[in-house]
Subunit: 229 residues, 2 copies
């Protein structure tokens, strides 16, 4: 049924690599993205690179000034606060809708993803640990909000998520390798799922908003420690 994914063109792979590198912090916030450097790094012509940059401008990960090229979007404590605040409120809203609209398989899917997340232990390699935990954590949160059944709200959430990714990455590094932090997260998730399954909208949304805001102070410190702000 599904179309066999067409072989991506160079612009698409340039887009993926560039986005990944920006999120991972390969380029510093505000850094100028020289066409010549990008061409060399990804071994592509200017066309594909330019198209990739155009799309990233649309996602606000890159800024452009006509005739003066492109830069990685800046990071700031102010933006950190605003993104996380916006996300917390948006996901609170989506959870409220999900509790009103979600059915049995919605609940079941949340439990399934919670279980999978709790089982991330057998991994040894540090990088792999980070990737696996992050992927499952994302899947868990996605399962919760997916219950709102609105493709457009889900899309809007994803765009906020993408913009938060650079900040989230700092938090992940602090969290994934601390057993205490992971345990705290486990407890928050359990309490959240508890309220959701009880269909207690008020309590669930409050816990969701709190849960989403906990990384902020940690990230703020990491930003300072790395001299980003």
């Amino acid at each position: 049924m599904t179309q066999p994914a067409p072989r991506p063109n160079l612009a698409i792979s340039a887009y993926r690599q560039l986005k990944r590198d920006i999120i991972r912090g390969v380029y510093a916030p505000g850094e100028k993205l020289l066409m010549s450097r990008l061409k060399a790094r990804y071994d592509l012509g200017v066309g594909p690179v330019r198209e990739a940059l155009s799309q990233l401008v649309g996602e606000h990960l890159v800024t452009a000034v006509s005739q003066r090229g492109y830069r990685v979007a800046a990071m700031s404590e102010q933006e950190l606060n605003d993104i996380y605040d916006a996300r917390a409120h948006l996901e609170g809203l989506m959870l409220e809708l999900a509790i009103a609209r979600g059915g049995d398989e919605w609940e079941a899917d949340i439990l399934a993803k919670l279980h999978t997340l709790a089982k991330v232990v057998e991994v040894h390699n540090a990088d792999e640990m980070l990737d696996v935990w992050d992927a499952r954590h994302k899947a868990f949160h996605h399962a919760i909000v997916a219950g709102c059944q609105s493709p457009h709200l889900l899309r809007v959430r994803e765009s906020l998520f993408d913009q938060a990714e650079r900040y989230r990455h700092l938090w992940l590094c602090e969290t994934v390798f601390s057993e205490a932090a992971l345990e705290a997260k486990r407890r928050e998730h359990a309490a959240l799922v508890d309220a959701i399954l009880a269909r207690d909208s008020e309590r669930a949304c409050e816990r969701m908003r709190e849960h989403l805001m906990t990384p902020v102070p940690i990230i703020r410190e990491a930003l300072v420690a790395r001299g980003i702000v």
Copy 2:
């Protein structure tokens, strides 16, 4: 203080024209956007056109399939419902935050924009009437949600707005030229502002959600009438 707007390059003006044409319905939903036609229509080379299309893909107004070019994003009754539902809930949330966070000048600005909107009468030309009323109507609604003071929520709202524009344009044509419809809108706006100034969050949000959903049946009919769905 403000930078003198740099002269836009061809990609930027291609982007603006293309976006405008898509919103205004120059291209049918789902229509293939031939590179050769676009080049001819806007009198540009492939480079700038491709960059503009890439950005529109990021805004979900255009879809792309690798090696098979670009198409105008489809329109459907389902999407109409979802966009308006998502917007109603999002703007309800933003209004709630605005009532909690907005100060005196927020209230004053809403009143100012309401007044300006009420004064759209001296225009005779039909097209100009539509443009002026729409611009002031937008300004009014923007003034309301701006009180939430979150740049990211405002940006997310704008992206939903852009995606709704094609549907909104159908509604505008039905509304702006009907004195009865305009009068109904005037009353809804007055009731909304009333609840906002009373800082009655619950009532204001309810009225906002209702107000934002009223166009849906009208647009649905217009979609059918024009054979779009």
